[in-house]
C-alpha cells in the first residue's frame, strides 16, 4: 500500500477517533454529576434509574473500562436513551436520517448541476454583462447564511403568498404531496449550493481559459462547445471535487437549519428540540452520526478525485 493511501486512511481514522473521544469525554468532563449530563438536564428521574444507569454505563468504574463499554455500545448501535422523548436515541436518529438525506441529496444534485453549468458559462464569457450580473447574484446569495435564505423564502412564499404549505414532509405519503412540501426547502438549499459552486467553477474555468491547451485545441479547429465542455470542464471540475468534501459539511448543516424553519421532521428538528431541552444523549448521538456522514463524504470525494485526475495515479505507478 503506497504512502498516499495509507496517509489518507490514517487521516480518516484519527478524525473518527477524535469524534468518538469527544463524545465520550464531554459529558464526563463537565462539572457536576456525569450521570446527570448523560441523562440530560431538565429531566427528573428517580434515583433508582440513575443508579441503574450508573452501573450500565460503568460510571463507577475506571475510565478505560467506561470507554470499553462505550465502544461496545457504539458498535452494537446503542446510542443511549433520551428521557425527554422516551425513545431510543438510535431509533430516533435512524428514523429521521432518510428525510434529511433526501433534502440534502436532491438539493445537492440540483445545485451542483446548475452551478457547474452556470459557472462554466460565466467563466468562459466572463467579459459579457450577463455573466457579470449572474456572478454578482451568485456572490450575494453565497454570502447569505442558508437559514436566512430560508427565512426570507418562508416569509414571502408561505406567509405572504401562501403558495407553499406550512410544515411537514407530507400530508399523504405519496410522491406528489412530498414533492409539494419539500419543494421550497429544496429550492432554498439548492440555491445556496448553486451559488457556491458557480463561483468556484467560474474561478476554475477562468484559470483554465488562460492555459495553452484550449488555444491549441482551437487552432486545430475544434469547435468552441467541445473545447468548453470537453477539454476545459474536465480540468476545471477538479477543485469542485476537492471542495465537495468541505462543502458537504456546510450543506448538511444548512439542511438542518432549513428543516427547523420549514418545520420538516428530520434531524434538524430533532436537534432543535434537543438543544431547547438540553437533551445531551440525543445531541451526542446526532453529532456522532453527522460527523460520520461527513467523514464518509470526504472519503468518497477523495476516491472520486483519484479516479478523475489521472495525475494522482502517477503516485501509484511510481
Amino acid at each position: 500500500m503506497n504512502k498516499a493511501v495509507s496517509r489518507k486512511i490514517t487521516r480518516y481514522s484519527i478524525c473518527l477517533l477524535i469524534v468518538v473521544l469527544l463524545v465520550f469525554f464531554l459529558p464526563r468532563c463537565m462539572p457536576g454529576d456525569p450521570v446527570q449530563c448523560l441523562v440530560g438536564e431538565d429531566v427528573y428521574v428517580t434515583q433508582e434509574i440513575l443508579d441503574a444507569l450508573t452501573v450500565k454505563l460503568g460510571l463507577d468504574q475506571p475510565l478505560y473500562e467506561q470507554f470499553e463499554i462505550y465502544l461496545q455500545d457504539l458498535i452494537t448501535g446503542d446510542l443511549g436513551y433520551s428521557y425527554t422523548r422516551h425513545q431510543n436515541v438510535a431509533d430516533l436518529i435512524w428514523s429521521r436520517v432518510p428525510w434529511t438525506l433526501l433534502l440534502t441529496g436532491v438539493s445537492m444534485l440540483i445545485g451542483y448541476a446548475f452551478g457547474l453549468l452556470a459557472g462554466t458559462w460565466t467563466g468562459w464569457m466572463s467579459e459579457t454583462k450577463r455573466s457579470k450580473v449572474l456572478t454578482a447574484f451568485g456572490v450575494v446569495v453565497s454570502c447569505i447564511p442558508p437559514y436566512l435564505l430560508g427565512l426570507i423564502f418562508f416569509s414571502v412564499f408561505v406567509y405572504q403568498l401562501g403558495w407553499f404549505p406550512y410544515k411537514g414532509f407530507y400530508e399523504t405519503p405519496d410522491i406528489f404531496s412530498i414533492a409539494y412540501h419539500m419543494a421550497l426547502p429544496i429550492l432554498t438549499l439548492a440555491l445556496f449550493v448553486f451559488a457556491r459552486n458557480m463561483i468556484i467553477m467560474r474561478g476554475s474555468v477562468l484559470t483554465e481559459k488562460d492555459q495553452l491547451y484550449p488555444q491549441f485545441a482551437k487552432s486545430l479547429g475544434i469547435p468552441q462547445n467541445k473545447i468548453i465542455y470537453g477539454h476545459i470542464m474536465k480540468n476545471a471540475i477538479l477543485p469542485i471535487v476537492t471542495h465537495f468534501a468541505i462543502d458537504f459539511g456546510f450543506i448538511l448543516s444548512g439542511a438542518l437549519f432549513i428543516e427547523i424553519i420549514f418545520s420538516l421532521n428530520g434531524l434538524g428538528r430533532v436537534m432543535y428540540t434537543a438543544i431547547l431541552n438540553l437533551d445531551y444523549p440525543v445531541l451526542s448521538g446526532l453529532f456522532l452520526v453527522i460527523a460520520i456522514m461527513v467523514i464518509c463524504a470526504n472519503l468518497i470525494a477523495d476516491v472520486l478525485y483519484g479516479i478523475i485526475d489521472p495525475r494522482v495515479k502517477r503516485g501509484e505507478e511510481q
Binding site: 467579459e127 492555459q211 495553452l212 491547451y213 488555444q215 491549441f216 485545441a217 482551437k218 487552432s219 486545430l220 479547429g221 475544434i222 469547435p223 468552441q224 467541445k226 470537453g230 477539454h231 474536465k234 480540468n235 477538479l238 478523475i308 485526475d309 489521472p310 495525475r311 502517477r314
Partner: protein, 306 residues
C-alpha cells in the same frame, strides 16, 4: 496563385491609455511549398501576425486589413467557417508543446478527436492513422496512445504535437517560436521535423522565430520585423549575404559566429514609439530625415538611407 496573401494588416490591442499598435501595415505572401520566416526580437509583433491569420486573437482586438487564404478573405469569415479552416487548412505549432496538450485527456483521444471532427474518417481509422504517424516519428504507438501528456518528456510532446498537426494534412503550417528555450539536440530534431513539412512541395511553412540561424537553415525567404513593421524582406541567401537595413545588419552581427556584437540601445515600448523611422534612435546612419518621416517599403527595404 499564392497560398496566403496578407494585405496591409494592422492589429491594435486595447490598452488602459489608448490603443497599443502591435502590428502596422504588414503585407506578405506565401506560395505553396514555400517556407517564409518572420524574424525579429521579442515583442516585435511576429506572433501577433500568426495569431491574426488563425483568428486566435482575443475579443476586442482591432484587426484592420485583409488576409487571403486561397482567395478567401479570412477577416470576413464567420467563426463557424474559421473552425473549418483551422486545423484542416491552416494549423499552428506552439512553443511549449508540453502545455499544448490537455493533461487530463489521453493522448490517443487528443489525436483522434480533430480527425473525426474534421470528418476525415471514423474513429477506428483515425486511431490507426495516428499510430502510424507516431511510429514514423519514432515513438511507441501503443504506449503513447494510452498515455497522458505529463508522462511524456518534452521531446516526446514535441513530436506528439507535430503528429496532431500533420494528421490533418493542412496546407499551411505556422510554427510560432518553436525553438524557444530548446537545447541543441531537441533543436536538431525540431529543425528536421520542420524541414520535412515543406519537403513534399505542397505544404507551406510560416516560421516565426527570433533565431536567425534556424531561419537561415529552413526558410526560402525571410521577413525582418521591428516594432510591428517590416524593415526588410528578401530571399534567404541574398538577405544573409548582403543585408541592407541597419537593423538586419545589427541582427546578423549579434550572432555568436559573427562576433556577438549587440545592437546598442533597447527596443522602445509599443506605447511610446519614436516619431519617424522607428529604428532611428539605435541606427548608426540615421539623420534628420529619418527622425521626421516614416520610410516606405521599397525594393524590400524600409529605409531612407538604403
Amino acid at each position: 496563385m499564392n497560398l496566403l496573401e496578407v494585405a496591409d494588416l494592422s492589429v491594435s490591442f486595447p490598452g488602459t491609455s489608448g490603443k497599443i499598435p502591435a502590428v502596422r501595415n504588414i503585407s506578405l505572401s506565401l506560395a505553396p511549398g514555400e517556407c517564409l520566416a518572420i524574424v525579429g526580437e521579442s515583442g516585435c509583433g511576429k506572433s501577433v501576425i500568426a495569431q491574426a491569420v488563425m483568428r486566435l486573437l482575443p475579443n476586442g482586438t482591432e484587426v484592420l486589413g485583409n488576409m487571403y487564404y486561397q482567395e478567401q478573405d479570412l477577416t470576413q469569415l464567420s467563426e463557424r467557417e474559421m473552425e473549418h479552416i483551422r486545423g484542416e487548412e491552416i494549423a499552428m505549432v506552439f512553443q511549449s508543446p508540453e502545455r499544448a496538450l490537455n493533461p487530463v485527456i489521453k493522448i490517443g483521444r487528443q489525436l483522434i478527436q480533430p480527425q473525426v471532427l474534421h470528418k476525415h474518417c471514423n474513429a477506428k481509422d483515425a486511431e490507426l492513422r495516428a499510430k502510424g504517424v507516431l511510429l514514423g516519428l519514432g515513438l511507441d504507438p501503443e504506449w503513447v496512445m494510452n498515455a497522458y501528456p505529463w508522462m511524456c518528456s518534452g521531446g516526446m510532446c514535441q513530436r506528439i504535437v507535430f503528429a496532431a498537426v500533420s494528421l490533418l494534412h493542412p496546407n499551411l503550417v505556422i510554427a510560432d517560436e518553436p525553438t524557444k528555450g530548446l537545447d541543441a539536440d531537441r533543436l536538431g530534431e525540431l529543425e528536421a521535423m520542420l524541414a520535412a513539412i515543406t519537403s513534399g512541395g505542397t505544404t507551406s511553412l510560416l516560421l516565426i522565430t527570433h533565431d536567425m540561424e534556424v531561419a537561415a537553415h529552413l526558410a526560402d525567404r525571410i521577413v525582418v520585423m521591428y516594432c510591428g513593421m517590416i524593415v526588410e524582406e528578401g530571399a534567404t541567401a541574398l538577405l544573409l549575404a548582403d543585408p541592407k537595413h541597419p537593423y538586419t545588419r545589427g541582427l546578423l552581427g549579434s550572432l555568436p559566429k559573427n562576433g556577438f556584437v549587440p545592437i546598442p540601445g533597447m527596443s522602445p515600448a509599443l506605447t511610446d514609439l519614436p516619431k519617424g523611422c522607428v529604428f532611428h534612435p539605435r541606427c548608426p546612419i540615421a539623420d534628420e530625415e529619418c527622425q521626421n518621416s516614416i520610410p516606405e517599403l521599397q525594393n524590400g527595404v524600409r529605409c531612407h538611407k538604403c
